[in-house]
């Protein structure tokens, strides 16, 4: 029987990596991700997880070690956050273009300066185009479930791509939540053994990440782009299968109380749970508003997104990162672009909020929605607004 335990979400993620029978962990501790790798180190040291734990001197080395491990056919896990994700940056592209299905939990954190260990999505947005599959989770259970799914999705022979599981730093990483851990035997069945088709092995030498002159580089990138987009099918199948086995259901775009709603709030990550409370309160007051949450950030689920917002007249997007000097918040940019060719385009209003650990309360979300409605009717001289900023 699956057992429900009260556990810090970071530790739960480490336990999920253990349930998945991870072979190699190479990681560097950084707040707010530290407890994940700390717990994995303990599980390995205590002999509870038969894996190689590689302590490295930086995140750049962590991801590099993960490349090598994954290329030999080892199931590979790591975790990082904020500046650490930035230090990994160039290696992230190598992992996706060499098609190595590393799974990484990212405890989303703001970027310096000023130094901030607190949460927002600046780190995520900086790695948006690295070619990784990227999934957002909103609570501890979703984190555990999606770490398991990430292995199955990434290692699928039709996919072979690295997967990031994004969880909000502190808001999620450091809270204690009730989590239902699936049974080992079911997990073993759910995640088949990892078999890389062309692993690094002396018996059959291969070259990975070779030199690609102009005559071939474009073809490699086209193949990569087609592959990432096509992975959505496998992601959908994986979540469907997960639902059947474990009775918890996930989809690329998730809607909450959107029936009859002309105004939709759009969020990503754990703030969505606060936003739900705000939607409940507004519904009680008779306002026809709903919430749409993006779970699958890459590949972006265009079809599902357009479907989810097809009846909306106004979409109020809350970004937790800035695109300095750019159009609007990064998520809002994509949402607008996804709707540009639609015949009936809703108004799309952009807010940036929750930067560097600044809270957004249910009342805050209500205020955002009301201001969003006002902007959609009267317009605004600003491309977007930063909610709650003083002055």
């Amino acid at each position: 029987m699956a057992k429900r335990v009260g556990i810090e979400v970071s530790l739960a993620i480490a336990e999920a990596a253990k349930l998945a029978n991870t072979d190699v962990v190479a990681a560097y501790p950084i707040t707010p991700q530290t407890h994940i790798v700390e717990h994995l180190a303990k599980l390995v040291a205590d002999g509870e997880l038969d894996a190689a734990y590689i302590p490295v001197e930086s995140e750049h080395s962590a991801m590099s070690a993960c490349l090598g491990a994954s290329a030999t056919g080892a199931r590979t896990f790591t975790a990082t956050a904020g500046q650490g994700l930035e230090l990994m940056h160039e290696v992230l592209y190598v992992a996706s273009s060499m098609q190595l299905p590393i799974v990484m939990a990212v405890a989303n954190r703001a970027l310096s300066s000023p130094l901030s260990v607190w949460g927002d999505h600046s780190d995520v947005m900086a790695v948006r185009d690295t070619g990784w599959i990227q999934i957002f989770v909103e609570n501890g259970q979703e984190a555990v479930d999606n770490v398991l799914c990430a292995f199955r999705i990434g290692e699928d022979p039709k996919v072979l791509l690295p997967v990031m599981v994004h969880l909000d730093g502190f808001y999620l990483s450091h809270v204690i939540e009730p989590v239902l851990f699936p049974e080992q035997s079911l997990v073993d069945k759910f995640i088949p053994p990892y078999k890389y088709p062309m692993p690094l092995h002396p018996d059959k030498p291969v070259t990975m990440g070779a030199f690609g002159p102009p005559i071939i580089y474009t073809e490699t990138k086209k193949a990569q782009e087609v592959n990432l987009r096509a992975s959505k099918e496998v992601i959908l199948q994986c979540w469907a299968e997960f639902g059947k086995t474990f009775k918890r259901h996930y989809s690329p775009i998730e809607s909450y109380r959107t029936e009859g709603a002309k105004v939709l709030l759009l969020t990503m990550g754990s703030f969505s749970e606060t936003a739900m409370t705000a939607i409940d309160r507004m519904r009680e007051k008779g306002k026809e508003v709903g919430l749409v949450r993006i779970r699958l950030w890459r590949p972006f689920p265009f079809e599902e997104f357009r479907q989810a917002v097809s009846n909306a007249e106004t979409i109020v997007v809350v970004d937790r990162a800035l695109s300095f000097g750019g159009p609007v918040g990064p998520v809002c940019s994509e949402v607008r672009s996804a709707l540009y060719d639609e015949k009936q385009k809703p108004k799309v209003v952009s807010f940036v909020a929750g930067l560097g650990g600044r809270d957004i309360t249910p009342a805050g979300f209500e205020e955002i929605v009301n201001r969003g409605i006002e902007i959609s009717q009267k317009g605004s001289e600003n491309e977007f607004e930063i909610f709650g900023v003083r002055g």
Partner: protein, 97 residues
């Protein structure tokens, strides 16, 4: 490689652009951006092999008569062999086209 790179479509590539055939770098023509080529004067050459040692491309080989010759499939035309040859037996001449 079964066919030249110029004929590969994106669908023909191995996963992750893996090169599955070991040693096929030898089929890669590195000599195609050469702007000058080395010409050997066999009257001056003393067959010492210094050019062979210095060539960064490793493309100089000793032929049946004992002379050291550049393989133009790989020679990049850097001129290091001409510079290092102590009897000035190698001259660099511009590639025409």
């Amino acid at each position: 490689m079964t066919k030249p790179e110029s004929e590969f479509t994106w669908k023909d590539l191995e996963i992750g652009g893996i090169v599955a055939e070991p040693g096929n770098a030898s089929q890669y023509q590195t000599g195609d951006w050469r702007s000058q080529r080395p010409i050997l004067d066999t009257d001056k050459c003393i067959k010492c092999g210094l050019c062979y040692i210095f060539c960064p491309e490793g493309c100089i080989e000793q032929n049946a008569e004992g002379y050291f010759e550049a393989n133009l499939f790989y020679c990049k035309g850097c001129g290091i062999c001409a510079r290092e040859c102590w009897v000035k037996a190698i001259t660099m001449i511009p590639e025409e086209e």
